[in-house]
Amino acid sequence: MTMRGPGFLDQLDAAVPGAVVGRNLEAIDPWIDVAPERIADVCAWLAKSSPVRFDSLQCITAIDWFEIDPKKAAKVAWQPHTEMVYHLWSTAARVSLVLKTKLPRWKSDVPGELPEIPSVCGVWRGANWHEREVYDLSGIWFTGHPDLRRILCPEDWEGYPLRKDYEMPLDYHGIRGR
């Protein structure tokens, strides 16, 4: 963070108060924790009005922290949740930045209700396809996305493959799954 200018994090706090909920500068890729509902504002500030313009969204990833077999689940330190990771890149300063947010696995813990997070399509148009892929494979609903449809799986595919508790369907239009 230091190489992004001394007061970078403070400027971020000042610009978007209450959005940054934590940070980890010692990890291999230092990251900033952001409140889920403020992600769009933080990204807008980073892309448009931050001294270091992060004008390119490299990649959005959804990690499903959920241990399936109960024995291991007992030993694990974290609670089941979904973590969204945004990798940004600034072409001018040639510097990358990682944003992380924590989402519940299901909206208000009702299985089948997708967790929601504001879409960043307004900030970078490139995010359109990335968000569609995350919705398709990990089941995250991006509010405000212009055209949220599945992009890799068939249109009428049930289930979200990259979730840990995903079961491959036994039959899809007459083709045996297993």
Binding site: I28, D29, Q58, L137
Partner: protein, 402 residues
């Protein structure tokens, strides 16, 4: 009378109004690279809207990555961009080595640069040949493949495979080069230099090729950056960005001792002491012609790099060093690394919970973002321009669908 004429429903005046047509180009279509379906909304010959449908080649390699150890997943990275499998292997290997803070031997680093740049030449040759096919000329495709065969023979001698090598792995390379390989590699480079002038004559300066590509599919640098395009597509629009120079420390360390110019179409950034055709008059920065020309420049750039790599590799003494054990434990944490692949910046994101099997694996594909910009470029072009534009983006479906 006129009023009565309007209201009488039986009198139907046929208005000369052209109707819009929805046309499917693909998924089985000779000009889409692999299995890509483009739904075109056309009004006669003019295309008003293009929507790419992808996912026909989706194998969910990321889900499989959660059940295999890091070294076992290397063959899956081969199958992403199957035209530049070495670069994919390097990307994943470096990502894991970044997480484990593991440093390979200097000899292995130079050999990796040598192999990766050779694979870039092969990938650009396919890109050039296939682009000629999109525009209707068949011969350059065969000339390109004739040269690519020689590179594939070299790879076959080094690691036994011709397309999906799994040669570069976590912690080094699976085997060292056989004796006499470097002599053959230098012989290939010697006879390859004049042939590039042939390609320039065949395509780059061909009047019809220029007419079909200049000033078509023009992409502004801002649009390219906003869509996250990378590689020749980005540099074709004049953005001076190359991961081999601007990337992460572990990746740029490999290229530190190499002298190379980033081939970007901006005020004369050309690799030195080579002969180049002039930019045609009506070519605009960011059009299909420039993207194509950047790839041709990168072929020359890679040749210089391979020559330097040969000298440095043969200067290093001692063994190559063994790659990591198959089930080497990884520290908990995550790491993201982007490498400069022929098609663009290929990113690998690895989240580990401390065991040898990664918790989550994510591959960020360069062609995925490059293709996303296609619908912006194809708006309002002619049907014959759609393959020209999509071809100039040089996409590979294996990498997009993963």
């Amino acid at each position: 009378m006129a009023q009565m004429l309007d209201d009488d429903p039986r009198i139907i005046e046929f208005d000369v109004r052209t109707d819009e047509m929805l046309v499917n180009m693909g998924p089985q279509h000779p000009s889409t690279h692999g299995v890509l379906r483009l739904v075109l909304r056309t009004d006669g010959e003019v295309v008003s809207e293009v929507e790419p449908h992808i996912g026909y080649l989706h194998r969910c390699a990321e889900k499989i990555g959660e059940n295999l150890t890091h070294r076992q997943w290397i063959p899956y990275t081969d199958r992403m961009d199957y035209l530049a499998a070495m670069n994919m292997n390097l990307g994943w290997a470096l990502a894991v080595e970044k997480l484990m803070k593991y440093q390979v031997s200097e000899k292995a680093r130079h050999l990796r640069v040598l192999i990766v740049e050779l694979n870039r030449i092969a990938s650009h040759l396919v890109g050039m040949g296939a682009y000629g096919l999109d525009l209707g000329t068949f011969s350059p495709f065969l000339y390109a493949f004739r040269e690519r065969e020689k590179i594939l023979d070299l790879f076959e001698e080094a690691c036994g495979a011709r397309l999906t090598y799994s040669y570069i792995t976590v912690g080094g390379l699976t085997a060292d080069l056989p004796s006499g390989w470097l002599v053959k590699c230098e012989a290939f480079l010697e006879q390859f230099e004049p042939i590039i002038q042939e390609y320039h004559a065949l395509l780059t300066t061909n009047a019809i090729f220029v007419k079909r590509t200049a000033n078509i599919g023009v992409m502004s640098p801002e649009l390219a950056i906003e869509y996250g395009c990378s590689g020749p597509v980005l540099r074709g629009s004049g953005v001076d960005q190359d991961m081999r120079r601007d990337g992460e420390a572990i990746y740029t360390a490999m290229y530190d001792s190499y002298a190379f110019e980033v081939a970007v179409m901006k005020d004369g950034h050309y690799p030195r002491d080579h002969v180049y055709p002039a930019v045609p008059a009506d070519a605009v920065l960011g059009d299909c012609w420039h993207r194509f020309f950047v790839r041709m420049l990168e072929v020359v750039q890679s040749m210089d790099l391979v020559r330097q790599a040969i000298d440095r590799y043969s200067a290093c003494k001692g063994p190559l060093g063994e790659p990591l054990k198959l089930t080497e434990k990884m520290p908990a944490g995550d790491a993201y690394l982007e490498t400069e692949c022929p098609k663009g910046q290929m990113g690998f994101y690895l989240v580990s919970d401390g065991s040898a099997i990664p918790w989550r694996v994510r591959a960020r594909s360069s062609s995925f973002s490059n293709l996303a910009v296609a619908h912006e470029l194809c708006r309002g072009c002619l049907i014959a321009d759609v393959p020209a534009i999509v071809g100039s983006l040089d996409i590979v479906m294996g990498e997009i669908d993963r």
